[in-house]
Symmetry: C2
Subunit: 213 residues, 2 copies
């Protein structure tokens, strides 16, 4: 199985440097990964490095807490796209979910998705499934599908990790209307294959090279 084209090669440490991003982009190009997933700060640099490659640049918004305000998340999305991001991985507001403020949650997802789609870019909504119960997951997926988000993403990898159960549930609930990205704790080829068999369309990992080697 050719795993390479499923992988978002990921580097999101708070203290990563330009040299780390250079290395990540080089590896991504070499291995033909789907995308690099990097901090907003490095988007323009990575977009420049990868301008002649098929590797897409993706970045994270409201990461990893999700509780920044909608306007600041939208500002971040617009800027990232302006600087060359083609995919946006944005965290839902879990505080609002846990407070039962579903109208806020819905508006937050709508606004972020609209900001990406207005510029023709893809958005992956990070749900952080390991902090949610099944009712919350079902409701969130419903809102993501209403907003026409492109991907349902399991986890930040910081506050939660993927599980095969979560991927199977998201895949079922998506009903072909959104794709599924599994991320958080996926370290080996065996892990990655399990997640793809469970229905993941994309794998986020900081161990991309180890996975395909």
């Amino acid at each position: 199985m050719d795993l390479n084209s499923y992988i978002d090669h990921t580097l999101l440490r708070p203290d990563c440097a330009l040299s780390d991003v250079n290395e990540l982009c080089k590896e991504a190009a070499q291995h033909g990964f789907a995308a690099v997933c990097i901090p907003p700060y490095f988007v323009s640099h990575a977009a420049h490095l990868l301008r002649e490659q098929s590797v897409r640049v993706s970045t994270v918004i409201g990461f990893p807490m999700g509780y920044a305000s909608t306007p600041s998340k939208v500002e971040e999305i617009k800027r990232a796209i302006d600087e060359g991001a083609e995919e946006i991985d944005a965290v839902v507001n879990l505080c609002a979910v846990k407070s039962g403020q579903w109208n806020y949650v819905s508006n937050d997802i709508d606004s972020m998705t609209t900001a990406a789609h207005l510029k023709g870019k893809k958005i992956k909504i990070i749900l952080e499934t390991s902090l949610l119960d099944e009712t919350e997951i079902r409701k969130l997926v419903e809102l993501c599908l209403q907003a026409k988000a492109d991907y349902l993403k399991t986890s930040t990898g910081i506050n939660g990790k993927a599980s095969l159960e979560a991927v199977r549930l998201l895949k079922e609930l998506a009903g072909g209307k959104a794709r599924v990205k599994a991320s958080g704790g996926i370290r080996t080829r065996w892990d990655a294959e399990q997640y793809l068999q469970a229905g993941a369309d994309r794998i986020g990992s900081s161990a991309g090279v180890a996975i395909v080697s």
Copy 2:
């Protein structure tokens, strides 16, 4: 020693709910803490709850990664102040620090500090000292003092913790021109007293009640 007035009673979990914030504010008022430190999402609610108390509302910006763009961090600061925040705890861009982009780092700190000061509010710059070497800390403190930031804060508590050495260094470098907030891993009265003796002017902890009990 009366520790209460030194404590920022802190709740920053990604999945905290309105009911958790209610409890936090109640405890802070009861114990006469300096402030509550909460997600941006809950600022207006906490400001309402604490409107007749001396407890200040503080919130976190660019938390905990620091690598969101300056405009999105500034947007977040303005909104938080609008909604009732009196103190702003904002994370520096460590990616820029580690990439040697000191001009960016300086502009980021300046812009955030200006946004807070324009409205007469205090700003605490979170340095994440445990990820920095002493040269980087010295340079960052210099930039914070130039910008006239009110507090130098050691850590996010997520990506790094406080140390007594870091607090002593920050206190010395501040030279009375900025205060020092220690946060991350401070759990007991013993811890808190050690940090205050080392020079901390404020203690951030999610264990505020345990510390003073």
